[in-house]
Symmetry: D2
Subunit: 355 residues, 4 copies
């Protein structure tokens, strides 16, 4: 596929949404429908084909949207960009069938891991579109902006990796933390588990309680390692332990790091502040302020906090975002803005909603 | 006060927010800061005077807002409109001191009741600005639009009355329900009780549980009665029983009504659909769809449902909205749009956020 | 079946639990395992046959319980009583196969409706054990104690009917309310919907929100009508409108009634206080106290409140209980105590858990 | 104070509850009122003196309890044991005034730190009863049983320390983890913050969100260090980072540890299983099972999980309990059982409540 992919500025971007019946799809529509340059022209949801979106998500019933169709019945004619919110593993087959002129912003995990052997190990099957994988750009906007601008296929990071990497890449790159001793205690709201009915995400199971899950075997670990290894220039292994929190949206990572001799938490804070000073969506909170998921709910923001540890030579770092926005649909739209030469904040100016 | 108050169209409306440290104030800023014609130039919060808004509401820290000041230190010069989110009872004194050129959109209860004797009875003290009360317009936009356009002082309805009256006024006006037999079972999220720490609204008290409160003595009852009596052309007394629900935002009223001979639920549905066909924020949901607070969260929408009862001659009506938006700050901005000749939906296009 | 069923007092009651993998089954085990006269000897859960109970409900892992078996593999030898927590519609077949010596305490809906035509209308199929239905006793302990003591098959009321009938039967019996004008606005926690994964009971769907459901067609309506009609001596139709509340446990009914000429809310209060003065689990709260689900959580209590309405001639009544305890497993054990001649509170003395 | 404090067995223990109006007090009454050997004869709550307990905690209204009195009006005559649920800092004065014959089980922080200089540093004032401090026994039942049996004053551990120390003491004692590299990421429900109204624990603030708090300065850190240092035989400093979780009850610690050369997670598991094999309330869950707060809610249980980390040479440990029971009132009663020669599980057999 040698098509040239230049950033372009145009009045309307005609957009398709694959897998519109999941939470990620719904939030993409919530934001995309109010994006001044976006027109949603195709929406697929195989289990709901033929229905209006309002039948699946009543909160979106007032919008004038195309009916849901099966993915094989979608008409790609005139479509400029496609957002994929399909379940992991199904995206690679479908994307391979799209016209080459359609830019793809994939919110699934299918193209995040560059090494297809690692993919096979963690996702349990051989990658079925290795050629596409080669051209995929990792869609962490703040760190791959140039590559994203020219990409046809952008693999948006997972929600946890987004929060982890925005925090850690600058620190690893500058050697400000011991890269072999990174412990990520991650907490997520339940929407990260999707809308398919499962016992573990029922209100009575996930409510009024908290538990770790996928201990030492969550698929976002190799993704974080891929990018941190790249930043470090050598292979890293990290601790990554996610927990399920009784809230719908939001994600917060508490990261425990060891500092190289002579380094202090203040050095980390300064490096992060400098790195993100010009970024519209990433902010290091002032000393004494503690980031909370409540402060980013519904927005495309990522907040970062830096704290001195009482243990000599250690620091405590915090990163929080809304898993459905900056951790998924918001970042996807941010990437679309980059790919189509728009101001990066277009359509993403919503302030956090609290309470 | 004989100042002429004409609707005007202008580029920027300079806005003050009185009582910016409550939930209503925060949501007004969330919406107002993104309103294309609004510039927030004054913000008061006596207990937090001197602080930036971000110190009180970290989710708004990135905004370029004026510092919080004491209300007596506010500079009203050049201010076009003021939103009051002050506690009930304190608004009337302060509004009386504002320059006559400032239009006032009051979100407190101080000017909602036209009869100051009723006010004294329900609020426990004599009204301290009866002259201002006389010129106050009741700010239920969909039913007082013309009066609001020309008003200097708009008294925005309470959250419960907004939901109740949008539903019931058309039905009472047209004699489609027995106006002496209206039972309103109301359910609200906890944000309706405000941000002042109280035992009853602690997480451990209000969470994982439900209870009625203010049974037969909630202050929104006389407000609903005032407007329904006006619609009926005679004095009405209603049942109004609120309940506290373990959620932050949202309000839903289930209303039990008796139908005059020959009338059916379908007649009610038709009347409501016709009445609100052209309204941007009020929608009667289709038959078979059940309104839920989840479907309006964060938006300025009000959803209405009509159901036949199994009991002959009765119907079940449902009305739901976000108490902080359509029930407070959103409706206030909607009124501002009307008062200043803007398109009524300006700055209020946010879609509901689900989940 | 002409077996004689005498109440008996004995040291140990050998108990089977059919359908132990649901929330009702779990709560029955929580209470039953600490009941001094109960030994659980058989537990069935077809989808989990072969597993220990702790694999299905880790909170019960420490108990020394029999392994789960398929219902067809259960050994009823020596079993004195069986609790059925099976899905509605499946119970009647299975109960018919049990030895006649086993007493059955059914927590499903299969034997609650005496009229099998009404059953067929509401449950969508002909009753498959009409002979058993004839001998079934309605298990509302406080009102059918004598019949329960001698019964072989007890059909425990639904959770909503328990709360509604404890409140309303005495009032209807004594003509203290207009029986043709009863409006029941019911609110329930999510556990009432069971443990089978469903979209509507996911954390992200049921959380942070409230909605009515099954409006004018909930199956507990005919059950309430059956018993109130019996109390009134004529056929009644009621309004019954349930709502789903974002909490796991608990149920609260707000009931709107009209009073016959000359009657007051105080008369209702007095009648209820007298009726339940000697009952260990039903309590009329003092004037000024508002019942809340938080006050009964985890206990076998039912709290009742009586309030004067502002509307002349009307009253507001409240009834609350824990849907899994007094609304299901607790009442089932209470009935077992009655059937086996034990003190009725045995094993049910747990106090409510708050917060 | 040279009074001899022998364990004794007797029929009834007459008990006083100081500070009965907090959540800890309420849960002590919930459990104590059903304890077969306990009679509650005195209850204090200065702000509610004169009221019945049911006016403060309606869920306990049915109990036959003494009226609440001011602490200075309490009659200690005949009282055998006192439970203190007073705010930190106020306990030491009051306990000093009690008759020497009264045994004291303190649930506040006042006597937990043996070193009064450390106390002054972390609690902001000099200790006012240093003599009493000297005789205080640290009430971690499983590790100080003998000392507790003979103590007059038992200082029950904080909720976090209980969960941390049950997990870590055996590992530190046996040198199974690197004691200088212990990272404790702690998560707690909101009830840990008490019943006094505070903005941060309002439903709308703590709900639908998660945040760290008291980062690197929580008062439970020195308490954990005190006991781990003792186990290690040298001074340790730990990382301890608590988070506020939107649930009422429950606490879970995820602990990240480094293993000495040659050690594996399996060694840790084995050591913990052996250490707690005979303990009624502490259980190491089997491999593959993940502890959750839902599995201990309302019970006196502590569950421990051991997981291999993907990072070579590291392990992930989990400890969970109900902060109001095993983390406070339950452990206090357990200590009372030890002090009075009763079976340790008496009155504490309640199973966890799920959902």
């Amino acid at each position: 596929m040698t098509l040239e992919h230049r950033p372009m500025t145009r009045e309307t971007i005609r957009v398709g949404v694959l897998g519109a019946s999941g939470y990620t799809g719904a939030d993409l529509v919530r934001l995309g429908a109010r994006h001044p340059a976006v027109e949603i022209t195709v929406m697929t949801a195989n289990a709901h084909a033929g229905k209006p979106m309002g039948a699946v998500f009543p909160h979106l019933a007032e919008l004038d949207l195309p009916r849901l169709v099966r993915v094989e019945d979608a008409d790609w004619d005139g479509v400029d960009a496609v957002f994929c919110g399909l379940p992991h593993g199904t995206t690679q087959d479908i994307i391979a069938t799209l016209p080459g002129s359609v830019r793809v912003i994939d919110m699934s995990a299918d193209f995040r891991l560059r090494d297809i052997a690692t993919y096979a190990q963690w996702y349990g099957h051989e990658h079925r579109a290795p050629e596409l994988q080669k051209e995929a750009v990792y869609g962490l906007t703040e760190h791959y902006r140039t590559e994203i601008a020219g990409a046809r296929l952008v693999a948006c990071p997972g929600c946890y990796p987004t929060a982890a990497l925005l925090l850690l890449i600058p620190l690893v790159e500058h050697g400000l933390i011991e890269a072999d001793d990174i412990i990520i205690d991650a907490k997520s709201g339940v929407s990260g588990a999707g809308r398919s009915p499962k016992e573990s995400t029922l209100f009575c199971e996930a409510g009024e309680g908290l538990s770790p899950y996928s201990v030492a075997r969550h698929r976002h670990a190799p993704e974080i390692e891929q990018e941190l290894s790249r930043a470090a220039g050598r292979d890293l292994v990290i601790n990554f332990t996610p927990h399920l929190v009784p809230m719908s949206r939001g994600e917060l990572l508490t990261v425990y790091v060891r500092l190289p001799g002579g380094r202090t938490a203040a050095d980390l804070r300064r490096a992060l502040e400098e790195r993100y000073a010009a970024e519209p969506f990433v902010r290091v909170v002032p000393e004494g302020v503690v980031p909370a998921t409540q402060h980013v709910r519904g927005s495309n923001h990522c907040l970062i906090g830096v704290f001195e540890d009482r243990v000599p030579g250690r620091a405590i770092l915090v990163s929080t975002l809304d898993n459905l926005v900056k951790g998924s649909s918001g970042q996807a739209l941010q990437n679309m803005n980059v790919m189509f030469g728009l101001d990066e904040t277009t359509g993403l100016e919503q302030l956090p909603m609290f309470p």
